[in-house]
């Protein structure tokens, strides 16, 4: 049996921050420019605020049932079948997210780095590392995130600093983008960008109490918001919004533009590592959360026998989209805009039912 173990504040923040912010390395920034123009870098703060609000509601639920994860709480509040349906719904949604993330990663990788490699081959390598990390357990994934965040942080800072040669301040104008109303509406909708914070409810048992969950959640969202905003700001400074919305991976392009003479040029290898490690951690956490949800729904104690079949299902699902266009313009766009319905609403419904039915955990004051 895999021991989930416990991990601390730093590991949890590293895990969740990487999971949330890795999306900026792919197609999300260009989609954002398409909908809000140059206002993306501050629009994300609106999304962050909404995400913090949603997280606080989730936290109220977790606080009401201390030392329990969201699946156990759903069982207690909604009953056996209600809990089962919740776990199945949330697990299925996360499995879909994980599959789409893999597909998005593979498609982007194919465009820029491995144009001749078959997508299935790239995906198999990806599945290998996900399966490997899942067998090692959640504690190892968290430690891996903590270990790798130093490399990611260094690479991120390096790419941003080296890109400063390409900054053009006038690219920030018009400052209000396509209008303040559009910015606010999309800011509210795109709170789904931070939706992975809901996974904190799934892994709550591995964290040290609800007080730490609150600290972790708030810190994660603030750090993620800041990093995303910086990424979008830098990207907006480098590319005019008319160009930015055409790029598949603006951050990668930004790294490729770095040129400090004959030798210091083409810094994309640095960025490639950020891409890879970030996505490995993101998908590993989501996949592990899927395992936890399904194993809870079907009352399976040992996750190991489920890992390979579930990985095969994820592998198969990721092939459902017909091509890169369907992934980027259709699925990713939909998930970023409407994902909040699954991420935030079910925990709020559970909280409301718990309040109505006056259900509480056993040792609330402990």
């Amino acid at each position: 049996m895999i021991k989930e173990g416990k991990f601390g504040y730093h590991e949890a923040i590293s895990l969740l921050v990487i999971t949330i912010t890795t999306k900026t390395f792919f197609t999300s920034p260009s989609i954002l420019v398409e909908v809000v123009g140059t206002a993306g870098w501050y629009m994300t703060f609106i999304s962050t605020a909404i995400a913090i609000l949603a997280f606080m509601l989730l936290f109220m639920l977790l606080k009401r049932f201390p030392n329990k994860n969201i699946m156990e709480i759903a069982d207690l509040v909604l009953g056996k079948w209600g809990g089962f349906l919740f776990s199945l719904l949330f697990g299925g949604f996360l499995l879909w997210i994980a599959s789409i993330s893999i597909r998005e990663f593979v498609e982007v990788l194919k465009v820029y780095v491995l144009p001749e490699s078959p997508p299935s081959f790239v995906m198999i390598l990806f599945i290998i590392i996900i399966v490997f990390l899942s067998f090692m357990g959640l504690e190892t994934i968290a430690r891996f995130a903590k270990f790798i965040i130093y490399i990611l942080g260094l690479g991120f800072v390096l790419v941003i600093l080296l890109s400063s040669q390409n900054f053009v301040p006038r690219h920030l104008y018009p400052l209000l983008g396509y209008g303040i109303d559009t910015t606010i509406i999309y800011g509210l909708l795109r709170s789904s960008f931070y939706g992975e914070i809901a996974i904190i409810g799934v892994i709550a048992s591995s964290l040290h109490g609800y007080k730490e969950i609150k600290r972790i959640g708030i810190s994660t969202l603030l750090i993620s918001g800041l990093l995303t905003s910086i990424s979008l700001l830098v990207f907006t400074l480098v590319f005019p919004y008319t160009v930015g919305q055409e790029l598949t991976s603006p951050m990668y392009e930004m790294a490729a533009l770095i040129d400090y003479g004959g030798f210091m040029q083409r810094m994309e290898p640095i960025f490639l590592f950020l891409w890879n490690f970030g996505t490995f951690i993101e998908v590993s956490l989501i996949f592990y959360a899927v395992l936890m949800l399904f194993c809870h729904a079907f009352r399976i104690d040992d996750k190991r026998p489920v890992i390979l079949p579930m990985a095969t299902i994820m592998f198969s699902i990721s092939f459902i989209p017909k091509g890169i266009a369907e992934v980027i313009s259709g699925l990713v766009q939909t998930i970023r805009s409407w994902g909040w319905i699954i991420y935030y609403v079910p925990p709020i419904i559970i909280l409301i039912i718990a309040l109505i039915r006056k259900k509480k955990g056993e040792s609330q004051n402990a």
């Binding site: 504040y9 590991e11 390598l125 590392i129 270990f147 030798f263 290898p269």
Partner: protein, 724 residues
């Protein structure tokens, strides 16, 4: 089932079954005697006949190969075993009764035994039967000697025991007419058992079974018996290493010295033991009883003397080079410290050389190594516990820890692992390391092995546990993290700026050794567009004449480099260094001239090699050498993406790895409190606390104001100023 099939098809010599044909006339005679009796025993013991039949069936399979002429002989050889089994059962059944009788008349049985001995001295064959008591067989069991020697011994003993039991059976068959003889046999056994029970008051009648006693053989009051027991234990006179020097204490009391030739300091025996004991006046002032106490306190001028009464504890001491004095009439012996075998002098550590620091390394001698550590940690809280860690070669290991610093749970865990080893042979710390580590499948080391006493001392002061094992000039310390493998003792001896610089260089070396080959492979095979244009053009030009695919070219060079390294180590002395230089220069130059490899590749391989040499721990360097090849493979199949996958796998493995419960990358992942002493080393006086992950009893390693002279007034007060 497979074993059965194997036995069915594969012919085995009779000797492999633990039997051999009698070789000398005496044994042949014993066999003849035995064969005369087996017929009776077969009739008597019907229960054994089924076993015999089954064994005979097996025997038939062999006989098909051997020929029918030998069949009868082999079957006859098999029979003693069954006979013994049957008779052992009988003797076990008889034991409680014998015990009761023995408890009633202990003195009587001694007298009877003495009388019996006098009778048997004249007859040699009889003597053999009397001298070989049951407990000799038990002793041999203790030794767990395997292989041919063991088989031969078993055969001998079977012969002896079967002789004895034949004799007993003969007696029994004629006992209807002569009951007194059979009673004598019985009383012999009872006496032996009663002697074994001496000094074991608590065991009582419940502990009569031979299994419980097989490790405990007490010293007899009679020196002859002790000598014979020792001769049996040490296989004398075949074994000529062990010296039993018989003499008389003060020309009165029979005594003997037992030691192993070459293991002792002869001056202790020649100057300080024999002259004192053999002196005619040695027993002046001694009144009556056992003289052992008198001799220990008044006569022997040896610095370390211990009394022992059990062969189980005495034999390892003799094997370790101590000298034992047996004295007639005493049920204890004196074990004297006399170790004085040849050993290597202390020399400079070969694998962990430093510029600024101590130049002493461990040797193969355990006592010397512990002394080297004690010379650095002059503190009464340093505890040294000795443990025998292997069953057959009885290798001694010392467990060292600071009583007031080290976490007790870590000490208990190390003890638990060492105490539960069940292995015949351990040659030294290298084998011990593999036997106590958490997971043997992991690539990276989980216990640190060091040749430097100062490093062990610093580990002990941090709250780690050290294991020093005789036989190799290395000590083990545990639990460890990656940073212990990455640091050297020189880091602390140098000023913090220099130490930090060296560590950064070392880190770059490690990363180059691990990642450069994989990344280079990926860039050349997959991502040429990522290489700066000028560099790319020079690589392309240099690779143009090379006929091999890149991966073949690279693996060829890496393999050549590994061969040079391995060859350089194996070739003795100065030739090894020469071979390394010649190999590197000529092979590289020739390979480029011949157009087999590109010059850029040679630079990459050389830089990788240098990076690997910068890794201070040999085990970690080897792990990186292996990991490098795996990453080349990943780079070849997936480019930089493949390298990322491979690197992530190694990261996940090492992050899930633990050393005695401590995660390998502790203080980074998981994050714990620590001094600034991971990559960047802070000033020495700011290294306030001991490693957090060790949960030491005393967390602070220095006072609140470690350099008090900064705040004290010049010319008076504290510290060095007091001396002015």
């Amino acid at each position: 089932m497979l074993k059965g099939l194997k036995n069915f098809f594969i012919y085995k010599k009779p000797s492999e079954y633990g039997f051999r044909f009698p070789e000398d006339p005496e044994e042949s005679e014993q066999w003849d005697n035995y064969r005369g009796i087996t017929g009776n025993s077969q009739n008597q013991d019907k229960s054994d006949s089924s076993q015999k039949e089954s064994r005979q069936d097996n025997q038939k399979n062999q006989d098909d190969n051997e020929g029918s002429n030998n069949t009868q002989n082999k079957e006859e050889q098999k029979e003693p075993q069954e006979e013994q089994q049957g008779q052992k059962k009988q003797s076990k059944d008889d034991k409680p009764e014998q015990k009761e009788q023995n408890d009633k008349n202990p003195r009587k049985c001694d007298d009877e035994e003495n009388d019996k001995k006098k009778e048997t001295k004249s007859d040699k064959q009889e003597q053999v039967r009397v001298i070989k008591p049951i407990f000799v067989e038990e002793l041999v069991k203790n030794k767990n000697i395997e292989g041919k020697d063991k088989d031969n011994k078993k055969n001998k003993k079977k012969l002896q025991v079967s002789d004895k039991e034949d004799k007993k059976k003969k007696d029994e068959s004629s006992s209807k007419n002569s009951d007194s003889e059979s009673k004598e046999n019985q009383t012999k056994q009872k006496c032996q058992e009663s002697k074994k029970d001496e000094g074991k008051d608590d065991e009582g009648s419940e502990n009569n079974s031979s299994e419980e006693k097989e490790n405990d053989i007490n010293i007899s009051c009679k020196i002859d018996e002790n000598i014979k027991t020792l001769k049996n234990i040490f296989n004398m006179p075949v074994n000529q290493d062990v010296i039993i020097r018989e003499f008389k204490v003060a020309r009165k009391i029979e005594a003997c010295l037992v030691f192993i030739d070459g293991m002792i300091d002869k001056s202790i025996v020649i100057q300080f033991t024999l002259p004192q004991l053999m002196d005619a006046c040695a027993l002046d002032g001694f009144e009556d009883g056992c003289p052992i106490d008198f001799l220990e306190k008044n006569i022997l001028s040896i610095h370390q003397v211990v009394r022992m009464d059990n062969f189980k504890s005495i034999v390892p001491q003799i094997l370790s080079g101590l000298t034992v004095v047996f004295i007639d009439g005493c049920d204890e012996c004196l074990v004297m410290e006399s170790r004085g075998y040849e050993k290597r002098d202390i020399s400079v550590p070969n694998t962990e050389t430093v510029v600024n620091g101590a130049q002493e390394g461990f040797t193969e001698n355990l006592r010397t190594n512990i002394t080297l550590i004690r010379r650095i940690v002059k503190n009464e809280a340093l505890v040294t516990e000795f443990k025998i860690i292997s069953k057959t070669n009885n290798v001694l290991a010392a467990l060292l820890y600071m009583e007031d610093i080290t976490n007790k749970k870590i000490v208990e865990e190390v003890k638990r692992r060492v105490d539960n080893l069940d292995i015949d042979y351990i040659s030294g710390s290298g084998m011990l390391e593999q036997l106590v580590e958490d997971k043997s499948l992991m690539l990276f080391p989980q216990v640190i092995s060091t040749e430097r006493p100062d490093r062990v001392a610093s580990f002990l002061m941090d709250g780690k546990v050290a294991l020093v094992c005789e036989g190799t000039p290395f000590a083990l310390a545990m639990p460890i993290t990656f940073f212990d493998l990455f640091h050297t003792s020189e880091d602390s001896n140098l000023r913090w700026q220099y130490g930090t610089f060296l560590r950064i260089v070392r880190l770059i070396g490690t990363l180059i050794a691990l990642l450069l080959p994989g990344i280079w492979t990926a860039l050349i095979l997959f991502h040429q567009e990522m290489i700066p244009t000028s560099l790319l053009s020079s690589i392309v030009i240099s690779r143009a004449p090379v006929p091999f695919p890149f991966i073949v070219e690279y693996l060829l060079m890496e393999l050549s480099f590994e061969l040079i390294r391995e060859g350089g180590i194996r070739v003795p002395g100065i030739t090894g260094n020469t071979l390394g230089i010649i190999g590197a220069l000529i092979l590289g130059q020739s390979a480029v001239s011949a157009g087999l490899v590109s010059p850029s590749l040679i630079i990459i391989v050389a830089v990788t090699g240098l990076g690997n040499f910068a890794i201070p721990n040999y085990s970690l360097a080897l792990a990186v050498r292996i990991a490098r090849f795996i990453l080349i493979g990943f780079g070849a199949i997936g480019g930089l993406y493949g390298v990322s996958v491979g690197f992530s796998i190694f990261c996940a493995l090492s992050l899930s790895m633990k050393s005695f419960g401590v995660p390998f990358f502790t203080s980074i992942a998981p994050a714990t409190k620590s001094n600034r002493d991971k990559i960047i080393r802070g000033p020495l006086h700011k290294q306030y606390q001991r490693p957090d992950y060790l949960n030491t009893q005393n967390e602070k390693r220095m006072g609140d104001n470690p350099i008090g002279w900064v705040t004290s007034k010049p010319g008076g007060g504290r510290g060095n100023d007091q001396g002015r």
